[in-house]
């Protein structure tokens, strides 16, 4: 079912269209909510709230936007609303401390070393995934979410910009800095 047919079904209140929407989009939307919210329960609640909001406001969806982009925006808003109600936030790194540093002549202050192929063999696959996930969670939210949408969900720069209501250039800058900081966080485990 394409977007136009799905939206027409949703607008007509067709239960099958809502089920299709939920089955198609719940996974990426829950993964996105998890990037904002620490607890799985909160992330699931944010997704529920977002889906109810979609159900109620499908009439206001403008087909100039992609359905997927609109859904992602609703989840971002639902997650941010939940996040604001939380007193305790996750601990985040100062990203500037994890970016490469350079000498006046442009050389790296600390020369980089390749990662050992045996590091990946040494770590069990689940262990490696947990390490990467924990490292991503340490990135500041504005960087973590961009890295998530671009490198994990593989959305385009323009779509990510529209979801987060920032410029494509801001997406590019945040993505590059997020990758560099994540690289630095993984470095000590992968040499």
């Amino acid at each position: 079912m394409n977007d136009a047919a799905l939206v027409a079904g949703l607008r007509a209140g067709d239960a099958a269209a809502f089920e299709t929407l939920v089955r198609l989009y719940s996974a990426p939307l829950l993964r996105l909510a998890r990037r904002f919210l620490d607890s799985e329960e909160d992330a699931r609640d944010a997704l529920q709230d977002a889906m109810v909001s979609v159900f109620r406001s499908i009439g206001s969806f403008e087909s100039t936007s992609k359905l997927s982009t609109w859904l992602h925006r609703i989840v971002v808003n639902a997650s941010l609303m939940k996040l604001r109600a939380k007193k305790r936030r996750r601990e985040e790194i100062d990203i500037d401390e994890y970016l490469p540093r350079f000498l006046e002549d442009g050389h790296q202050v600390e020369p980089s070393q390749p990662w050992s192929e045996s590091a990946e063999t040494r770590l069990e696959r689940d262990e490696l995934r947990a390490l990467v996930r924990e490292s991503i969670d340490k990135l500041p939210e504005t960087y973590r979410v961009v890295l998530h949408l671009r490198d994990i969900e593989e959305l385009s720069t323009d779509e990510t910009a529209e979801i987060l209501d920032i410029t494509p250039n801001a997406v590019k800058i945040r993505l590059h800095r997020a990758r560099q900081a994540l690289r630095a966080l993984l470095d000590e485990h992968m040499k």
């Binding site: 089955r23 996974a27 889906m51 050389h107 020369p111 390749p114 990662w115 590059h176 690289r183 993984l186």
Partner: protein, 77 residues
């Protein structure tokens, strides 16, 4: 010739192959002579690959719960 700072600052464009030919050629010349930047490039690419590995599916119960909530909302309206 490009410096390490030039190369690393634009590594995202280099990896995405969106650099114009001239700076790309200059970066390639730098990489041919700089093992540290080669290592940085390799680990930057690995970082992107490893991030992608964290993608996971969601439990079926999440979908069931949403459908139940939506059905309740439909009944109410």
């Amino acid at each position: 010739m490009s410096t390490c700072e030039d190369v690393i600052s634009f590594l995202d464009d280099y990896v995405a192959e969106t650099l114009p030919p001239e700076p790309r050629a200059s970066f390639d010349r730098h990489l041919a002579a700089c093992p540290s930047c080669v290592a940085y490039l390799g680990t930057y690419r690995e970082t992107i690959r490893l991030a992608r590995l964290t993608i996971e599916d969601i439990p079926a119960e999440v979908i069931t719960a949403i459908l139940t909530t939506l059905a309740r909302n439909t009944t109410r309206t």
